[in-house]
Structure formats: C-alpha cells, structure tokens
C-alpha cells in the first residue's frame, strides 16, 4: 500500500513537471531574424534605403557633417560664445582625438559603409519579387554610397580600416593604405556607373536615388582630390555630354525646399518637414529623421553659431573692390541687417540677431526665406554635387591639362547664370592669360559659387597638397591638420589599433 502510494506520487511528480523546453528557443516577435531577410526585392530595397537613412543621421547631414566641414574650412567664423567648445576647437584647429564632431562624422560614414556592405553581400539571396534590373540598380546604389563614404573617410583621415564586408566579431581591422582605399573606391564607382540608371530613367517615386551621373561626378571629384586631372576628364565629359543636367536660372533654387532635385542637381541628401522631427536627435538616423538642424544652427534669428568669415564676405566681387558689378551671389548667400525674409513679410533687424550684427549671417540653406522662425524642423535638401560644381571641375581639368583658353567656356557658363550674370573672365581683377592666373580665377569662382556647401574644406586640402594655394587661407592650420585624428573611441576599442597608429601630431 505504502509503496504504491509513494510510487504514484513520484509518477505524478515526474509527469507534471515535464517542462516545455521549447520555451527556451524564443523567436523575437518584434524584429525579423537575419536568416529570413534579404529574400525579396522589396526587402533588398529596404536594405539600401537604410543606407540613405544613415546620411540623414544626426552624426552626418542632420547636424555634424556640415559643422565639421564648414568649421574646418575658411568659410566660417564663430557667431559668439554660444558656439559649443568642441565646435570652437575645430574652428580654431585645436581639436584632438576626443573631439565629438570628428568622432560623429567617423561613426556616421562607417555606418553608411556597414549598411552598404550588408546590401552587397546579401543581394544574391533575394529571389522573390525581383528583376535583374532592380537588383542591379540596388547594387549600384550600394556601391555608390560605399564609395562616397570611403572617400569622405580617406580624404579626411588618411589610411582607414577598410571594411569590405560586415563585421562578425567585435575586434576591428587595422588601417589600410590610402592607395588601396582609393582602389576600392574606384572599383565601387566603376560598378555603380555600369549598374545605375541615368537620372531621367528613374520613375518619379524614386527621385533622390543615386544615378549614373552622380557616380561619374563623384569619380571625377575623387580624381581631382588626388590631383589626377587627366583621369577625371572622361567622367566629367560623360556627365556634361549626358544632357541630363543644366544650371537653373535662379541661384537660390539650389538652396530652398521648393526646387529640390532640379536640373542642376546631381546628387542630394533628401530632407523634408512633412513627417515631423521625431528622430532628429538620433545619432544613427533611426525613426522618422527627415529633418536637418542646419537652419536652426546657423540661422541669423536662431542660434547663429557660426557666421560667414570676413575673407569669404570680402571674396565677392563688388564695384567697390574693382569689379564691373556687384556679384549678386553675395546677396543670395548672406543675410544682412535690413534684408527681408519670410517671403518678404519680415525685416531682419538688429534686435533679432545675437552677436556681431555688423557681420552678415548665412542665408544659403536657411529656412526663414519662407517663414518667421528657424527651428529643428528644416526640410531643405543638401545639394552635395550640383552641375555648377561639375562645370568648375571641368574648367580646372581643362586648365591643368590643356590650358586656360579651354577652361574659359566652362567657368564662364557658371558666371552667366541668368540671375548671376557676372561679366565673363578674364576681368580686370582676374586675368586668365596663364595657367596660374586661371587657377586663381577658378579658386575664386569655386569659393563664391559654392560657399557654405561643405566643398571648400576639401578644395583647400587638395590645393594645399598640390602646392597651388597662393597663401595659407587658415592661419591656425598646423601641418598635423592635413588629416584628422583617428577618434579615441576607435583606437581604444579596436583591437587592431593602438596609440601608435594615431596620425602624427595628435
């Protein structure tokens, strides 16, 4: 009896506790698993969309990209003590490897590389709802974006860890020589050019994606950065002869929200105020992050953290400094006290502006042309490459490879824009008889045409390396600043790097 009793209970005990060990293998209900993704055309397209989203991140075009580029160049001065210390340190060229702007840009561009790598290494897995054409286009976009990111990195930091596939361990890679990084960039751009459609071949719902023209223009830019003018020529010719691009008549159509992706636009980072600013502060561009803080950060009636430098303001041709007429691009680029804004309904008065009111403020890329106040909700696209830049690059290539006469038609085309209409070169101030004179004209034209567009920083760097700058434009520049420091957080956490791998002088 007793034995039976006991054994019955033991049986019950064992029976009741047959635990359900399958519960230990949970499936995450919130997110897709890696194994089941990248299987269809729409999934692969979502993968490449996330690369673009990385461009909008707070680390890049939302905020830190334009700050870093502009503060490293001679386009800007401080707007006053409201400029945060790490930004002032970049402006004054006293930054070190801990600098948050330097770190943010490094992080932002490597994020783009990583996401592009995921597209490239998984593209073959997509078998559903996909055509070869779509797969090719998506691959082309990923190659273009990876090349863009690697160019940003190698041009500012020198040798970088070259990530050609997504990382599977937390260890990190050592730095790869500049030559090898550039080789990868050109190989990627070659792939992009062969796969991407022309701008006009895109359906209207895909406006804003990378195009063949963008890849060709970027290839030319990279060659120019390295001083390889002859190599840049075929890419520029291809863009110009494609008949896909033309200058717009109104200069400011390049910097307002209404005329985005216009005929002059070769490549833009898209923003919009239609969707709110919920993700604006997200470093990685997650959530709805479709706005840029550019308006609020530089705006004359807002933070006015930076203002145009004196040398930039003085670079514009005026009757006073000996030109035939005032260059209207000065007015288009700067706001001065007394100017109207908010569609002509408001007047900029000194009490609305903090800091030195005798100095102009930025107008290019400001949103108050159509509203009373700046806020974190600006939807103006960044025109990363526009056709005027392409024409000026072509002028530079012609000058360096054929001579000044061949450059004239290109540079004068930019000056002849309907609402700029500056007298063609040569002028009294800018003769163009020799290659050296034409160089100065091109440098001048690039500076005034492309001011505040995050182009000047790299222009100065390449001309400095090529020894063609007439004088050093940045008084605080020290030789170590030719490249930026590898961020401390990279050296500290990358098992393949130590302090000995830091760029010299940092």
């Amino acid at each position: 009896m007793k034995t039976k009793y006991i054994s019955m209970f033991i049986a019950l005990f064992v029976g009741m506790v047959s635990c359900d060990e399958e519960k230990l293998e949970p499936v995450n209900p919130n997110q897709l698993g890696i194994e089941t993704f990248y299987r269809s055309g729409p999934q692969l397209e979502a993968a490449v969309n996330s690369v673009y989203a990385g461009l909008q991140a707070n680390n890049l075009y939302n905020r830190e990209y334009f700050f870093l580029q502009d503060l490293l160049s001679d386009d800007c001065d401080t707007g006053g003590p409201q400029l945060e210390a790490p930004r002032a340190q970049v402006l004054n060229h006293v930054f070190d490897a801990s600098n948050p702007l330097v770190t943010a840009n490094w992080r932002g561009w490597f994020r783009v590389v990583h996401r592009a790598n995921l597209v490239l290494e998984n593209a073959d897995k997509a078998v559903e709802e996909i055509t070869d054409g779509l797969r090719n286009r998506i691959l082309g976009e990923a190659y273009f974006l990876r090349a863009l990111a690697n160019f940003e990195l190698v041009s500012l930091w020198g040798p970088i860890p070259l990530m050609t596939s997504s990382a599977e361990s937390p260890d990190g890679l050592p730095r790869t020589s500049e030559g090898e990084v550039y080789q990868t960039i050109f190989a990627d751009l070659g792939e992009a050019i062969s796969r991407l459609p022309l701008k006009s071949e895109y359906a209207s719902e895909d406006i804003g994606r990378a195009t063949r023209g963008a890849a060709q223009a970027l290839a030319a830019k990279v060659h120019l950065f390295r001083g390889n003018f002859a190599e840049a020529r075929p890419f520029l010719e291809a863009v110009i002869n494609s008949n896909e691009y033309a200058l717009v008549d109104r200069y400011l159509d390049n910097f307002e929200a209404e005329n985005e992706n216009n005929s002059e636009s070769v490549w833009e980072v898209q923003f919009s105020e239609e969707f709110g600013n919920a993700g604006g502060w997200n470093a990685d561009g997650s959530n709805i992050a479709e706005v840029t803080f550019r308006g609020q950060e530089y705006g004359p009636t807002a933070w006015r953290n930076v203002i145009p430098s004196i040398s930039l303001v003085e670079a514009y041709e005026t009757v006073e400094n000996g030109a035939e007429k005032d260059d209207p691009r000065g007015r288009y680029t700067f706001f001065r006290i007394g100017d109207t804004y908010n569609n002509g309904q408001s007047v900029l008065t000194a009490d609305k502006v903090q800091g030195a009111t005798d100095r102009p403020s930025w107008r290019k890329y400001q949103a108050i042309y159509k509203r009373e106040n700046e806020d974190t909700n600006s939807g103006i696209n960044f025109r990363v490459i526009r056709y005027a830049d392409v024409l000026l690059m072509m002028a530079e290539v012609e000058n360096e490879t054929s001579g000044p006469a061949a450059a004239l038609p290109y540079i004068n085309q930019v000056r002849a824009r309907a609402d700029v209409d500056m007298p063609p070169y040569p002028t009294a101030q800018y003769p163009t008889d020799s290659r050296e004179e034409m160089r100065l004209a091109i440098m001048h034209e690039r500076r005034v045409e492309l001011a505040g567009e995050q182009i000047r920083n790299r222009d100065i760097r390449r001309w400095r390396r090529q020894g063609t700058l007439p004088s050093e434009p940045i008084p605080a520049f020290q030789s170590r600043n030719d490249v930026l420091p590898i961020p401390l957080v990279e050296i500290d956490n990358n098992s393949a790097l130590s302090n000995a791998d830091q760029n010299s002088g940092y």
Binding site: Y5, I6, F9, L12, F13, E21, L24, E25, P26, N28, P29, N30, Q31, L32, G33, I34, F37, E45, A46, A47, N49, S50, V51, Y52, A53, P81, Q82, L83, E84, A88, N92, V94, T103, F110, R111, M163, A167, E168, P170, G172, E205, S272, W281, G285, S286, N287, E290, A302, Q354, P487, L488, V489, E490, D492, N493, N494, S495, L497, N499, Y506
Partner: protein, 676 residues
Amino acid sequence: MRGTGFERVSFRSNTDFKINDRISIGQTLTLAYSDRDNEPFSGGRSQIEHIVKQVPYIPVRDASRLGGFRSPDRVDGSDPENPVLNAELRTNRQQDFKILGTGYIDVDIYDGLSYKFLVGLDIGLGTQDQYTPRFDAGDFNFQPFASIQQNRSTFVSPLISNQLSYSKTFGDHSIDALAVLEQQTFKQTGLQGSGQNFLTNDVRVLQGVQNQTTSGNQTEYALISYIGRINYDYAQKYLISASVRRDGGSRFGPANKWGTFPSLSLGWRISEEGFMQALPAVSDLKLRASYGETGNDRIGDYVYQGTINSNFFYNFAGSLQGGSTISSLANADLRWETTIMRNIGLDLGLFNDRFSLSAEWFDNTTEGMILGVPIPPSLGYDGAPVANVGNVSNRGLEFTAGYRKYSGAFQFSVDGNIGFVNNELTSLGTGNTIFGPGFQGDQMTFTEEGQPIAYFYGWQTDGIFQQGEDTSMQPNASPGDIRFVDVNGDGTISDADRTFLGHYLPDFTYGVNFSANYKNFDLNVFMQGVQGNEIFNLLRFHTEGMTRLFNAGTQVLDRWTPERPDTDIPRAVSGDPNRNARASSRWIEDGSYFRIKNLSLGYTIPGAALESFSRGTISSLRLYLSSQNLLTLTNYSGYDPEIAVRTGVDSTLGTGIDYGQFPAARTLMAGVQLTF
C-alpha cells in the same frame, strides 16, 4: 522634489486549509497599486542639470508668455530649460497594478516524505501617460502643440513548481532532502501611442491629434530549473549541505542554454563538543566553510540573436520609404555568467550570546561576466554585443560584533560591522580592454587585467600654467590653462598619458546599529559609512567647466586671471582650446562619508495613564520622531556622496559617476502610533 511623487497601496491575503492529516492546501494573494510622477527628463538633461545651468537673472514665471513661464531667449545665448516649467507642465504619470497569486497543495505522503505542487501567477498592468501643454517660454523653450503620449503594458508570468521533500531524524542523525522542478515564463507586451494637438490644451487623450504614431513590442522569457538539495547534521555538531541546480534560460545562445551550479557547505559547532563544556563562557562557537556557484541571466531578451532593425526611413520624392538593416552585432555564443563563492567563517557567542563576534573571509569570482562590449565605430554597428568578457574577483574580509543587554531598566544592543573588499579583473576573455561611458569624446572608465574593474581614467592634472611658463608640452595651452602630467614621459601630452585616477569601490565600508530602551523611551540609530572611494563628479563640469554660456557655480569667480594666479580654477576662455574640461583628475574627488542613515526616538505613554485617559479603548500609544539621512560628514562637494547609477549607464562600467542624479532626501518625521 517638485514634479515627482509616489503613492502605493497594497493588499495581502494568505490562507491555509488542512483537509486531513495528510493534505493541506493554501493560497496567497497580493494586490498592489502604485502611482508615480516621474522626474521630467527633457532636452537630454536631468532636472539638476537644468537647475544649475539656468540663467540666474530672468524670472521663473512670466504671465505674458504662453504657459506662464520664462526661459532664456536668443539674446541670452543659452538654452537651459526652465526646471519649474518642466516640473509643473510636463506630467509623466506611471500607474501600475499588480496581482501576485499562488495556490498550492501539500501532501504528506509517508513518514517525512512530502510533496508540494505550487502554481503562481504574476500579472501586471501598467499605464504611463505623458502630457505637456502648448507653451512658449522663450526662443529655445517652446512647444506649439500639446504633446500626448500614452503607453500601455501588460505582463503575465506563470510559475509551476513541483517540490518533493524528505525530512527525517534518526537518533543524532537528521537529514533533509529536497527536489524541485520549476518552470517560470514571462511575457510582456506594450503598446505606445503619441500625438500632437495644435488646437487645445484641454484634451489629454489621443483624439483629434496630428502626427499620430503608434508602436508595439513584445518579449518572452523562460527559465526552467531542476534543483536537488540535501542537508545533513549529526547531533547539531557537524553540518553538511550540498545542492545542485541546473537552469535553462531562454536568453542564451542555442548551445549554451543550460548552466549547472553546485554548492557545498560545511559547519562545525565546536561549542557542542564535550571538551568545550569546560568553557561555559563560550555559548556558541561555530566554524563554517562553503563553496557555491550561482548563475546570472539578468540581460535583455533576444540579445544573442541577430535581428533586422526596420526603424529607418528615407523620403524619396517626398514620400517616405522604409529601411531595414542589421544595427546590432549579435553574439550567439552568449552563456551563463557564473559566480563562484568561497568563504570561511567563524561565529563566536560569549556569556549566553550577549557578546557576539563573527569573522568571515570570502572570495567571490565571477566567471564569464556578462557585459555590453564597446565596439569600434568602424564596424558601423550602433548596438554593442553582449558578451562574456572575463573574470572578476572580489576578495575580502568581513567582521561583525555585537553586544546586547536585555535586563534592567536600561536595555540596549549595539552591533557593528566592517568589510574590506578587493576587486580585480583577473582575466579578459575577449582580449580587448573595455572603456566605460563617454563624456565629451573622452571615456571615463577603463577596464583591464590586474586592476579593479571600471576604474576612473583620464589625464592627471598638475596645477595651472602661470605667465612665462613653458607650455611646449601642450601647444594649445596659455597661461591660466591646466597643466597635465606627461605620464609616459615623451615630452608631449597625448592620449597615451591617460592614467588611473581612482575607483568607486571603497577600501572599507562600515555600519553601526544602536538601539536602546529606557523606561518608556526607545531609541534606534543606524549609522553607516564608506572610506577610500572616489567619485567622478561630472556635475562640476557644468558648474566649473565654463565651456558654454550657461550659469556656473560661484567657484568660477576664483578662476585664474593674471591678477589672481593663485587658484586651481583655470581661466575662462571661449572654446576651451586646452580642453581644461576634459576627463581628468580635476573632477575626481574623495567619496568617503559617514552618515546617520536612520534615527528614531519614541516615547510610549505608560499603560496606566493611557487606561484612565482612554477608558481602555486604546491599548497602546507611542509618540515618535524619526529622521533619515539626518547628518552626513563628507568632503565630497556634490549634492550626495551616495550616488545611484544614472539611468541608461551600464552599472558595471559606470558606477561612481555623478551626473547630477537626484540626491537622497533628508526626512524628518513626527508621528503617533496607535493600537486599539
């Protein structure tokens, strides 16, 4: 603190019912409700940060501005938010309702063998309502819409436990054995909605709002345990206990779900031995030793699985398209963290236990410590993998002593303890050293082999450059800037000069508890303290850093100027070219303190007086005064040396950093305690 509050109600009921000699059943039920107003945390800054940064010359309130508050304008060049506005306009109310119930049946099978079956159910319902009305307090502190966010969450956690136990005494031998099989699962679901109302402040629910968003989430967790334990003693003299448990957890990689954790403890009550009877003063003497392993799975769910993050968007031609990527590096090899605990102790009681003394040596080693591993940004991931990074040892000694007197009119007891711990990271499995939380691009802690975990890291300061002094080691420095120590002696100050600046773990901790009764008075005092730890006082970056146009502490009035060279506060300079505000020993302070944690003093009305006064309706009446944190002795300059880890900061790597966490309150309370 204004804008925060907490209220709690709970109800408990337990019943036991004996059906017959062998079977009893029972249940427990707890209902709890809590209602909390959370501290607003807006603009990425804590309320304390807003308080210290607020410009001092503008009024808090301004009836002419929408919402009735005033914050800095453009001309102030500074954007702290008004902390009183945050406290009064931003509501963040969290209500939680909890039901915890268990039911069991206990069967006495035969002669010490019994079986218990227990089911439990833990249910939680949470609502969080956040609301901020439209306001316009200043150029940088406005909101043109009423923002409404409502979160709803539920969790359900059933527990099934089977326990078979056996207990028996044979003469001097007594034995006690237990086998348990247990399964606990946990499922949490959440739904969040938010929206903006541009028309009115009166509607506080998600009706008629713009920019409406909803999102949801769900997580599941399971833990299955098999436990066996046996206790044996011989004549209360020799004690032995052994157990083993095998746990399966859903949070670990496929090959590492299961962990086995044995333990063994031995005790010898020397005072029970015959030869000790010659020493009647020794009422208790026990030598004990134990070895035990425990497992830790306190990590997030699903962290070992690689997943696709689809929370990315890009607007092509003005319409939003979704983006998906892998934004976290997963670690499929994640396994249990095991802590191996060894200790040897001696307990001594004298004079009928009026004196008690105990000493213990312990050595706790955590193997495969689970930690979010910082990764190089060049990998392009934003989520760091969670990994078993290495072994940490905590070795130390602990002493407690007590004395009690429970006779006579004056009765009292006093107990004191003191503990010494030595923490060391003994090995790093991943091979990489680990940096802690970042601050202005620097990383504040460092973890490497042979040192205590997460020690404070940065540059060592060496006074201030005076006029005419050589600054060639720091090319960006000028007179009035901080001189840093060239630790590696290479003639220049660089990242390689960062060094050990201190550590959050104290050399020793101590506590004293004293309670006494004299006639109708009673007194209880609890004092505690720590000695020899450091605190990274980051709040001083805000009060003394002078990196932006915020309000600062009065310390900056003593800043360096050519006329005032004798100071340790550097010069005020726009842009901080020398990075005087970097992570350095400038912010490290001694965190030692001594504190009267609790004190209460009571008086009980004598029974006779009470009897005549209340005619027997009140059986006891006590008046008391009590206080928490009445007195603190410390050299620490922050608000409170007893700092909690800031939300969002890894507690392993970021302990001891004072970001301006809310200080513990000093409370004074007078009360009446009635019994009917």
